[in-house]
């Protein structure tokens, strides 16, 4: 026996440790699930942390109402297989109740509105810890965020007063009304995620694999033709073989041209790519240099 762990197994052990630590120290944790590959990996890790018990916390999806149908179907099926309790918090409902106002115009997106729906749901269910699938390699602001990311009663993140995080000694002390976001896969890269999906033979939604889709080009990104996005006159739809590197709201998640229709081909593609996944596929991060930092301070994921 060599007493060595591969990098994937070491990352896995770290994640499992974090899941257990939070479940032990927090009264009402919840796992945020988007249907994307990162949150699917999160579900597997949570399952590993507590087997043979069921997940000791519910799973919550913030549904913008603009999701890929394939992803919603996957979400319902996967949570049922796990016997997990699924909570769906709806942005549409927040709009209907007048809590937020829908943006109008060609470039409108419900991305910003999610924050209100999320914070309302946290308050309604009195969650004290929310697991998120963010990774530090995704974005510069996230590179500096702790595994336990402390939020005040307004859900705000203050990057200047983060608690030091040493060894594996996570500080889970919070006051009434405050909560933490927890990022168990902070140290995975996009490539690690794909390698883990392969090693674990984890099923993922079909939109991640190359398929034919009607798209149009905007700001150098390929957006799916869909009922929620209004096309400008200059924008012409065409068929293309594409896949998604990230899966979020249809109105702001771009597809990439790709023929990768197996996990192995995707891994080859990710290993060779020269553009970050958020840079390639997220209109929401392009608004300004500090787009993510600003949204996080307001309580975003």
């Amino acid at each position: 026996m060599s007493y060595e762990l591969s990098h994937l197994r070491e990352l896995e052990a770290e994640s499992i440790h974090i899941f257990r630590e939070v479940a032990a120290e927090f009264e009402r944790p919840c796992l945020l699930f988007s249907g994307g590959k990162d949150s699917i990996v999160m579900l597997r890790l949570a399952q590993k942390a507590f087997a043979p018990c069921k997940l000791p916390f519910p799973v919550m999806h913030i549904d913008t109402g603009h999701n890929f149908p394939e992803v919603l179907e996957f979400r319902d099926r996967r949570t049922e297989e796990l016997g997990a309790r699924l909570i769906v918090a709806s942005v549409q409902q927040s709009i209907d109740e007048g809590k937020v106002v829908e943006q109008t115009g060609v470039r409108s997106s419900r991305n910003q509105l999610q924050t209100t729906t999320l914070l309302d749901a946290i308050e309604e269910h009195q969650f004290t810890a929310l697991f998120g699938g963010a990774r530090r390699d995704e974005e510069k602001a996230r590179a500096k965020e702790r595994v336990y990311s402390f939020r005040d009663e307004f859900g705000q993140w203050d990057p200047k007063s983060q608690r030091p995080e040493l060894w594996k000694l996570y500080n889970g002390q919070v006051r009434q009304g405050e909560h933490i976001r927890v990022f168990p896969i902070s140290n995975y890269t996009e490539l690690d995620i794909w390698q883990y999906i392969k090693a674990e033979e984890i099923e993922i939604p079909s939109v991640y694999f190359a398929h034919q889709r009607e798209v149009f080009e905007r700001d150098g990104m390929l957006l799916a033709v869909n009922e929620y996005t209004e096309m400008q006159e200059s924008e012409k739809p065409f068929m293309e073989t594409v896949r998604y590197r990230t899966v979020g709201d249809m109105t702001c998640t771009g597809a990439v041209e790709s023929a990768a229709d197996t996990i192995d081909l995707i891994i080859d593609e990710v290993a060779a790519t020269r553009i970050t996944e958020r840079g390639a596929t997220r209109a929401d991060d392009r608004v300004s240099e500090a787009a993510m930092e600003d949204r996080k301070k307001k309580g975003y994921f």
Binding site: E12, H17, A51, P52, R136, Q162, L166, G279
Partner: protein
């Protein structure tokens, strides 16, 4: 593929950002859009060259003020290893940040400028690396291009550093002459320094032997979570979930559970993927015992003939991490050690250490932000502890302010009695 975590220490002037940028760039980790964003930002800020520091200075406040607030984590991989860099900035908050970044590191790179030799800052970085027991230290003598790649100059710096380092407890020390700007000895061996017979920095990072750094002798299993499915299928199941923090555990091993002192035997070690024959650090597993004993979170499973100290009196080196309060005698704090929470009272600050000179100031009995000192604590409950030099997991703790809930201190246990 193995994982290596390393910390980098040095200020911008030493070329730390350039070195990290070089490692990322030459291993094809910097993406085109990141590079374009950095180029655009450099241009906007009016700098003449592409400022690679902008790759790591992630937050708006940092870019505006040109400072680095915090530890940033960066990732890259080669076909041999995956690397996690804890990049810690060099300004006044330095100690707190480096202690944080160093706490999980297998290796530290201390950078210094070949023209200046060993300066106060290099001593401080090296001391912190040794205090945090980072097993491997690399002294990267940078800017060799500015001293004409001179072997003599390199040897002088090495000699000077060795004199100083003999006072420290450093396991494995490697010297590499580099030019981060031109890439000499960073990824490939330099043609400008044929006299240097060692490996390039990246080659060293890829090959340094780290698996022996783990403690495979003292079996330590702090119970993190008790699994009781209470389902039909697992009617009497009671599993103790946790992460192995030392040694090797096997089914059939005799064990003792602290604090109760009850003994039992390991019936099975489970993971989601099935039972395992052996478990070692840092595996996260579930242990089943043959006997039904009352065990809860914070308890420690270990071998009867090799137990940690169960103690309420802790003697430790503490780094104070807040400006809100000072650590002083009679102060009460929350303490987190392994999976155990307790309260602690400061009994004494024996001395404060000047981390530049290593002088012990015994006249001071308080610690302020970024200060390190030898502290004795009395805890409300026993901790199951080892010396930090023996085990980084069972020898470390954090102190939490009970009013603000902030993490205010980091401790490394020197003794228990």
């Amino acid at each position: 593929m193995e994982l290596l975590r390393f910390a980098t220490a040095g200020s911008v002037d030493d070329g730390k950002s350039t070195l990290i940028g070089r490692l990322l760039y030459d291993t094809k980790t910097i993406f085109q859009d990141q590079m374009e964003a950095v180029e655009a930002a450099s241009e906007q800020m009016g700098t003449e060259y592409t400022n690679l520091a902008l790759l790591t200075d992630g937050l708006r406040a940092e870019r505006e003020q040109g400072i680095t607030i915090d530890v940033a984590y960066r990732y890259f991989a080669t076909p041999r290893r995956k690397f996690i860099i804890a990049d810690t900035p060099g300004h006044t908050q330095y100690t707190r940040n480096m202690v944080t970044g160093a706490s999980t590191a297998d290796l530290a790179i201390v950078l210094l400028d070949a023209r200046n030799g060993v300066v106060e800052q290099s001593k401080r970085h090296s001391f912190l690396a040794s205090l945090l027991r980072i097993p491997h230290l690399v002294l990267a003598v940078n800017k060799m291009d500015l001293v004409d790649y001179s072997q003599d100059q390199f040897e002088n710096v090495v000699g000077e550093y060795r004199d100083f380092a003999s006072k420290l407890d450093i396991g494995d020390l490697t010297f590499i002459p580099v030019s981060a700007l031109h890439g000499d000895n960073v990824v490939d061996r330099s043609e400008n320094m044929e006299w240097f017979e060692g490996s390039s920095l990246l080659h060293h990072l890829e090959t340094v032997h780290i698996s022996s750094d783990r403690n495979l002798i003292d079996a330590r299993f702090p119970v993190q979570y008790v699994l009781r499915p209470q389902s039909e299928e697992y009617h009497d199941f009671r599993g103790y979930a946790g992460t192995i923090e030392g040694g090797v555990l096997k089914p059939g091993d005799d064990v003792v559970v602290l604090p109760s002192g009850f003994s039992s035997r390991i019936a099975e070690i489970r993971t989601f993927d099935g039972p395992v024959e052996e478990a070692f650090a840092p595996m996260a597993v579930t242990v089943l015992l043959e006997d039904e004993i009352d065990i809860s979170r914070g308890d420690m499973i270990c071998r009867p003939n090799n137990q940690p100290d169960a103690t309420q009196d802790v003697d430790a080196m503490v780094c104070w991490m807040t400006s809100e309060t000072k650590l002083e005698p009679r102060m009460k704090l929350a303490i987190k050690h392994t999976t155990r929470m307790a309260r602690a009272m400061v009994k004494d600050v024996q001395y404060r250490l000047d981390i530049n000179t290593l002088h012990r100031d015994e006249t001071s009995n308080v610690l302020e932000l970024n200060e390190i000192g030898r502290v004795t604590l009395r805890t409300t409950q026993p901790l199951f502890a080892d010396e930090y030099r023996r085990n980084r997991a069972t020898g470390s703790f954090v102190l939490i302010d009970e009013n603000t809930n902030n993490t205010v201190g980091a401790g490394m246990i020197v003794g228990t009695d």
